[in-house]
Symmetry: D3
Subunit: 249 residues, 6 copies
C-alpha cells in the first residue's frame, strides 16, 4: 500500500484553476495532491536577440519555489545571487517541452514568458509545472486570438507530464509524492503529447539502475495517467480546446 | 471621486486567509483590494552568527514579487543575480517593524523567518506585507506555545501598516492603489501599534514637498484606517489575540 | 548632559569646504562634528536609458564609506561584490531628496552624478551627505551657468537634512552622534526645504515606539537646527545663493 | 549516407589515453571522433559538509569547455561570472551516473573530484565525458589500492555512455557528431552499466516528438554501441578491470 | 620642457599629513603633485585562515579610487559588483611590497589591513600609495609599541616607490603625471628599500620596447628620486624612524 | 646542483606543437619541461566597443588553469564566480606583451582572442603562455594572409618570455620550475623581442630584495635563454617566419 493509500497506477487529485492572477495573459493555479504551482504566461512584443528578424516567436520558461514551499525553508535564490543547477535544469525542460507542441512561426515576433512558481511542494513540481504551463500558454494565445493579433491557435497538440518510479521493493508506481520520490530507486519524468508521442523521457537511477522491462512498465503507467490529465486540461480550457491543432489540420 | 469610487478615508476590502500554505509554522494570504501577498513565518532553531550565545531570538524578513505580479512582467531577481534597492529597503522595514513589537528575549535562540511573496500587486504591497506578516508571526508563535516550546506569547502589541498620500489637487487619501500611488505628490507609509504609537513613519515627496498641516492630516487618516485593520487581524487570529501582550502585563 | 556636552537642541560644529577635489564640476568636504564626507557632483552629458528623449535631466546619487571610516574596519563593498541594503537605502534617499528641489526640465538631457564618500564617520552620515551634496550640486550647476550651457539655476529651493531622536530617558535631542544614535529609542531623519516644507521624514523605533507628541517635539527640534544649516550653506555658496529659485519666481 | 560516411549503427573511432596529466590520481584523454576531453579524477581527503560523519565517500563532477573547443569562440564562464544551465545539467549528470556504479561506503570519507574539460568539441561531449571519467575514476581508485588506503575496488560495474538520435528523414543513428546533432529531430543520451542496465535515459524532441517504436530502436542501437565501448575501457584499464565488481561478488 | 615645467629628474612636491583619519591605528594623507591618497593601516587581532596557528602576522592591502578622482567619472567597483584587473594588480603589489620590509614574525597573529583610497588622481597613484602606506604601517606599529602589545618595531627598512618613463622623443623622466604617463612609450614603477635595494621593478612598453641602456638610465633616475622621498617619510615619522630596523640590528 | 640536474643557465626542454586544436585560426600546445599550455588564437570580425570606428584591430588575452593542472586541485574560477587577481594580472600581461609587437593598424577592425589554458603546471606558466601565444597569433594571421583578408603579416618582431630568479644561496638561475620558484628569493619575468629589446620586466622580491648587480646578472641569463627560444619559435612557424617584420621594413 502507498503512503497515501493510492493504488500504484492512481494519480493524485488534480485541479486547475483558470485566471488565477489578474495581470498575465494566461494564468492558472495547478494543484496535484499537495503540490501547488502558479503558472503564468506573459506575452512580450519582441523576441530575444538571437531570434530577431526571423519572423518567428519564442517561448522561455522560468521556475522557482517560495522559500517555504518545502518542509524545511530554503534560502531564496535571489539572496544567494545565483540560480541552482536544479532550477536551471527544470526551467530548460519546461521551455523545451512547450516549444515542441507550439508552432513558433504562427504568432509573430513575440515571446511567451512562462513563470512557474511553486507555492507548496510535495513532489512532482516539474511535471505539475509543465501540465499547468500548457494551459496558461493556451489561455494566453486565446487572448491574442480574441484581440485579433493572431489568426490561428499556434498550439499543435496537448501536452502534459507526470512522473513514474520504481520503489526499493521493485514496485512500479505512478505520480510520486515527495516521500515516495525520496525513497525510490528509479525516478522518471515523462512529457507526452495528446496524440501519445513522447516529448521528453528523463529516467534516472540515483545510486541504482533499471532494466528494459522496468522501463516498459513505467512508460505504460505514465501513458495511462497522462490520458486522464489531458481530460482535465480540456475541461479547464473549454472552447479553446477545439482550436488546438488547427494549424496542422 | 477616487478611481475606484472610494471615499478619501476609506480602506480597500481586506481579507486574511489563515494557514494558507501547509509547511510553514505560520502562513496567511492577505488580500488588500487587488493586492495579494503570501506571508509565511518559519521557525528556525538557531539565530544568525551575530546573535549567538545571547539567549535571544531574531526576526528576519524577505520580500519578493512574482515576475507577473505587476502589469508589466519584471525580470526575476534570482535571474539578475542581485536584489534591488527597493526590495532591500522593504525587507529591512518589515523586519524592523516586527521586531519592535516582539520581545526577543522570550522565545529562545530561534529565528523567525518571515517571507512576504507578492503574487498580485496593486499598490501598498509593503504595508499589506507588514499587516499579513504580523498575523503569520503570531500563528507561528501559537504553534510554539502549543508544542510547549515557549510559555508566553512573545508578541507585545498588535502591529499593522497602511499608506496615506496627497494627490496633485492637495486631497489627502487613505490606502493608495497603484494608479493613485503613481500620481500622488506625497506618499507616506505608517506602521503603528495596537495602542496607537508609531513604529515607523516614512513620508516622501518625490519631486514635491509637504507642510506640517498636511502631515497632521495624513497621520489622522492613517490612524483611523489602522484601527479597522487591527479588528480584522484580531478576528483572524481568534483566541491567540488575547495572549498578545501577556509578557508585558 | 549629552556625551559631548551639547545642549539637547544644539547642532555639532559644521563646516563646508568648497572645491575640495579638483576634477568634479562641484565638490565639497562637509564636516559635522567628527563626521566627514566628500560630496562630488559630476555632470554627464546624457541621461540614463529610461529618461532618454524627454528633454529632461536626471540626478543620481551613490554613497559609500571608506573601510576604516568607522571604529571597526568594514569589508569593502567592492570586495564583497555587492552593495548592502543600508547603502542602497541611503543612496536612494539622497537622490530622491535632491530631485525634489531641482527642476529637471531646466538643464537638458544631462545627469548629475552625486557621490557621497564618507571618509570619517561619527553618526549622521546620510544627513551630512544630503546637506553637502546640495552644495555640490549648486556648484556644479554654477559651472554650467558660467559656461553658458544653461541659462537659469535649476535649483528651486535650499535643501538640508539633520537627525533627531529620543533617548531611553525620553529626552528629545538634535543631531545625534554615533554613540547617541546607538543608544536611542527612536531615530528620525528629516529632510527639509529652505521654505520649511518637508521632503522626507523617516522615523524609526528600533525595538521601540513613539507617540504623536514625541513626533511633534522632534519635528520642532529639526526645524530649528535646519535653519542654522541653511545659513551655513548660503555662506558657502556665496553669490550663487541668490540664483536659487529663479526658475520659480 | 551519414555526413562522415559511417553506417547508422557505427561508432566514431574511440581512443582513451591513460595517465594524460601527471598530477591527478586518475587522468585520461578520451577521443571520440573529433571530440577530445581531458578527464581527471582527484582524491580529496574529506567530504563535503552535508556528508560529514557518515563514514562514506562522495563523487562530484565538473564539466567545462575551452572557449575555442567549438567552431565559434564561446565566452569563458569564469569571465561571465556564472556557470550556464547547460554546464550545470551536464555536470550533475556525470556525477549522478558515476555514483550509481560506485559503492560510496567503500572508500572512506573521501571525495573523488572528476573534472571533464573539453578541449575540442564535435558532438557527444557529455557522453564522452562519462565514458572517460569512468576510466579516470577506476585509475584513481587503483592508486588508493596500491597505496593500501583502501582494500577493495569500490567500483561495482562498468559504466559508459553514448548518444542516439532520429534524423529528419526518420533514420535512427548511433553516436551523433555535431552536425548530425544540430539537425536531428530527437536526441537521446543513454548511460548504461556493463551488465546492460540503464543508469540514465534522457531523450528529447526539440520541436519534435517520438513514438514508442522509435524509442525501442534507439535503445537497441545504444546497447550495441555501448558493448564496444566497454571493451575499449577494459583494454585501457588492464589488470584493474578484473577488480571491478569485487565488492558485490 | 615637461608639461608642468619640471626638470626631467625632478619629483613633484610631496607632503604626508599624519593622523589624517581618527579611527585607524595609522593614517596619512599623501599628496604627490595633484595626486592625493588616504592611506589607512588597521590592526586586526587575527590572521586570515591560511596563516592561522603559525604565530606570524600578515599584511593585506586594498586600493580604490573615488569615482570622480579622475577627469572622467568612473563607475564604482561596488556597483559593478567586481574589482577590476587593474585594482587587483595594484593591491597585490602594495601588499607584497610592504611585506618585503616587515618582519612578519614580530607582531603576533595580527593582520595589518592597509587601505589606499585615491581621492584625487593625476598619475602615480600606486607609487604614492606604497609611499604613504609605508608611513601608515609604521604609525600603526607605533601604536602597538606604545600599548606594549609588541616589543620591537617589526619594520626592517624604509620603503618607497616612484615611477620613471621614457617619452616618445626618448627622454627619460622621473615621477610622471597623468598626461605624461598617457603619452609615454615606457612606464616603469620602482619600489626600493632605504638601503637602495629593489623590492619590485615593473617596466612596461605598451606598444613599444626599451633597451638595456634605457633601463639603466631609468633605474638611476628612480634611485635619486627615492632618496628624497625617504627623507620626507623620515621627517613625517619623527622619533619612530630610529626604531625602523631594530629587529635586524 | 638544481633539483632537476640542470645547469643554472639551462632552459628546460621546449616543444611547440602546431595546429593542436582544429577549430581556432591559430593553435599550439607548448611544453616547457612539465608545464603544458594550450594556446589558441581566434579571429573575431569586430573589435570591442572602445575601439570601434578607428579602423584598427585589437588583441585580448585570457588565461586559465584546469583545476588539476597543479599538485593540489584548485577550485574552478567559474564555480567561484570570479576571476582571481593572479589570473587577471597574467592575462593583462599576455595581452599587453602581444600588442607591443603587432601593428594594430594592419589587420582591420578585428579582434584576436588569445586563450592560454594550462593543462599541466610546473612553474613558468605565464612565460610559456606568452611564448606559445606568439606562435598561435602568427599562425592565425597566416590564415588571414592565405585567405587574402590582409596583405601583410602585422607582426613586427618575434616575442618570447622566460623567468629568472635568485635562490636563497644567491645563485641566479634561468627558467625556474615550480619547486625552484617556491623557494626563490627573487623571481623575475622577462618578455623580450627578437631584436633584444625589453617589452616587460617584472621583478619581485617576495619578502626579500635584490641589488643592481643581481638585476644585471638576471637580465643576462634571460637574454641567453630567450635567444634559444626564438630559434624554436622560428622552426615551428616555418615559412611564415620570414614575413614577420614586413610591415616595418
Amino acid at each position: 500500500m502507498r503512503n497515501d493509500h493510492r493504488e500504484n497506477n492512481r494519480l493524485r487529485p488534480i485541479t486547475i484553476e483558470k485566471n488565477y492572477i489578474s495581470h498575465p495573459e494566461g494564468s492558472v493555479l495547478i494543484t496535484v495532491g499537495n503540490t501547488k504551482v502558479i503558472c503564468n504566461a506573459s506575452i512580450e512584443e519582441r523576441v530575444p536577440p538571437f531570434m530577431r528578424g526571423q519572423g518567428k516567436g519564442w517561448i522561455a520558461a522560468e521556475y522557482s519555489m517560495l522559500p517555504r514551499a518545502t518542509a524545511e525553508r530554503n534560502i531564496r535564490e535571489s539572496s544567494k545571487g545565483k540560480v541552482s543547477g536544479r532550477t536551471m535544469e527544470i526551467q530548460r525542460l519546461i521551455g523545451r517541452a512547450l516549444r515542441s507542441v507550439v508552432d513558433l512561426d504562427k504568432f509573430g515576433e513575440r515571446t511567451v514568458w512562462v513563470d512557474c512558481d511553486v507555492i507548496q511542494a510535495d513532489g512532482g513540481t516539474r511535471t505539475a509545472s509543465i501540465t499547468g504551463a500548457f494551459v496558461a500558454v493556451v489561455l494566453a494565445f486565446g487572448q491574442l486570438l480574441e484581440k485579433k493579433k493572431i489568426k490561428q491557435m499556434p498550439v499543435k497538440e496537448f501536452l502534459a507530464a507526470t512522473s513514474v518510479g520504481i520503489l526499493a521493493d521493485d514496485t512500479a508506481i505512478l505520480d510520486l509524492n515527495y516521500e515516495e520520490d525520496s525513497g525510490a530507486n528509479v525516478d522518471m519524468n515523462i512529457v507526452m503529447t495528446g496524440s501519445g508521442e513522447f516529448v521528453e523521457i528523463q529516467g534516472t537511477g540515483e545510486e541504482a539502475t533499471f532494466t528494459v522491462d522496468q522501463l516498459k512498465t513505467m512508460l505504460m503507467l505514465a501513458s495511462e495517467g497522462l490520458e486522464q490529465i489531458f481530460e482535465i486540461q480540456k475541461a479547464t480550457i473549454g472552447d479553446l480546446a477545439s482550436r488546438v491543432g488547427e494549424t496542422i489540420r
